[in-house]
């Protein structure tokens, strides 16, 4: 039995089909990459997994349980955390309070929440800015805060939506490092990323979609060599 599986997921908005029958399996402990050109339906997939959208049809199975159509807060409680591509910091709360708020999904007392938050902040290297208001963080800090907040909900599966976009090379390295350490702690990661060398180096397996349908899946090497993927990214002329 797979740890996490999506089965023939479909999402239509009015006449537009954003995701059209995507299926994949993710094994526990993997870093699973999701790639595809802009508008190919990656974020829509994440939104269906995390409960923001109810799929038009298809199943989302997590630890042998169907979770499609559940509310986002329920899915969070089940152990699936996510970040947002367009970061959503709780702006007028401090970085620490952001993470404390997330910690309350697992603990009820202020003391425990604070301890959990401190640990996470430390893990993510946000301790120096813990008293800063989230809205005044620079973009790299906000991306990191997204991850920290999601981690504070103690997920077994973490969905990372373009957490590397907009980072400079140094920040990129430390972000990749952070993602690896998250996996070492036993959290399975599904990651959407546009920066190819990031996703190719970090992922164990990659699933490529275009126009809402699967075009390839395999190891980074296999996917990089796949004709359909090259066409999707560079256009047919280059293929």
């Amino acid at each position: 039995m797979a740890f996490f599986r999506v089965e023939k997921l479909v999402k239509t908005f009015g006449g537009l089909t954003a995701v059209n029958g995507v299926s994949f399996d993710v094994e526990q402990g993997q870093i699973f990459g999701l790639i595809g050109p802009n508008g190919s339906g990656k974020t829509t997939l994440f939104n269906m997994i995390s409960g923001v959208y109810t799929p038009t049809s298809g199943k989302v199975l997590y630890k042998d349980r169907e979770i499609q159509g559940m509310k986002p807060h329920k899915i969070c409680k089940l152990g699936i955390g996510r970040t947002f591509q367009v970061v959503k910091p709780l702006g007028r709360m401090t970085v620490r309070d952001n993470v404390i708020a997330a910690s309350f999904s697992r603990v009820n007392s202020m003391g425990e929440a604070r301890d959990n938050a401190m640990e996470i902040l430390d893990f993510c290297g946000l301790t120096p800015v813990k008293a800063t208001l989230a809205k005044s963080l620079p973009i790299a800090g906000r991306k990191r805060l997204e991850i920290a907040r999601a981690l504070a909900t103690r997920p077994d599966l973490l969905l990372l939506d373009e957490t590397a976009a907009g980072l400079n090379p140094t920040e990129l390295l430390s972000a990749m490092n952070l993602i690896r350490r998250i996996r070492e702690n036993g959290t399975t990661v599904i990651i959407i990323e546009h920066i190819m060398h990031v996703i190719m180096t970090i992922s164990d397996r990659i699933h490529a979609i275009n126009f809402g349908t699967t075009i390839a899946e395999g190891t980074p090497k296999e996917v990089a060599a796949n004709q359909a993927v090259i066409e999707a990214y560079l256009g047919t002329d280059y293929a």
Partner: protein, 341 residues
Amino acid sequence: MKAAGSKMKKNLFPLLLLAGLALLPLVLESNYFLHLMILFLLWVVIGSSWNLLAGFTGQVSFGHAAFFGVGAYTAGLLFHHLQISPWWGMALGGVFAFLVGLPFGAICFPLRGAYFALASLALGEGIRHIATIAESFTGGMVGIMIMPTFVSKVPYYYITLFLASLSVLSIQLIMRSKPGYYFISIREDQDAAASLGVNTTLYKNVSLAISAFWTGMAGALYMNYMGFIDPHVVFSLHDYSVMAILVAIVGGVGTVYGPTVGAFIMVAFQELFRTGFFGLFAFLGKATGVAAVTALGDAVKKAHVLGFGILVIVVILYLPNGVVGDWEKIKRNVFRIHPAK
């Protein structure tokens, strides 16, 4: 060390204030001032309740008069129909306001955007009409009159002080615990909050329930204290729904003590105008013999609500986060105090 010290100071000030308020009737024998203080404390309750829902949870209500009025009518009707002491009505007033809030929240909160604000306005107005029409039950426009329990204002003062402290304290405690963090997350970003495990609909309802409860208690106390209510008094959009908002705005939306400060400013400001700056104009008029000064004094007296309205506009323009929220700005620009570097 420094942080601990400032925290101590932060907690000390409200305690000192509370002690001062508790001792006030011992030194102040004027019924007039006690009445003003009772009004001030009632507004502390109403403003703080509104602030919990709007300032902290981000759900702006234009219908808090509904909860206030339901509380007042609970106390009044219990006495009117069943001869139950209106003090019992106080406990129940909060509960009934909460019961009115519940289905209302259940309907509005799943909808996003301005719906809550819009529907709350309709709720307040709707209940007012119902109270007016259901004459056989509520007495309609004639209203309800009860004999006050106490002749002296002192007991009322202490009861109101107790209610005000309790409501502010409860809000302070809530804001330092899980629900408080959840309320602010909802205000800041509903999607983010949901992704962090916050049941946004549930917690909005929790916030509404607490807010409605305290406002209903205030309404029931009002019935006990004033001895008379009618639909236009207690369900008034402008006197309660809007005033609750203004009190919080002037003091500072989204701060625990903002509404308290706002309530004080509102009551003091209105009274200052109503009395012509405590008779200053009349005195000056007499002293100088200039009729214009006396006339000005009379004009000021009539303009007491106007004065507060203008204050509100000035505050929104220049202190958009209220006196408490923009305190640093006030210190900088008005008192010329600059933080030590």
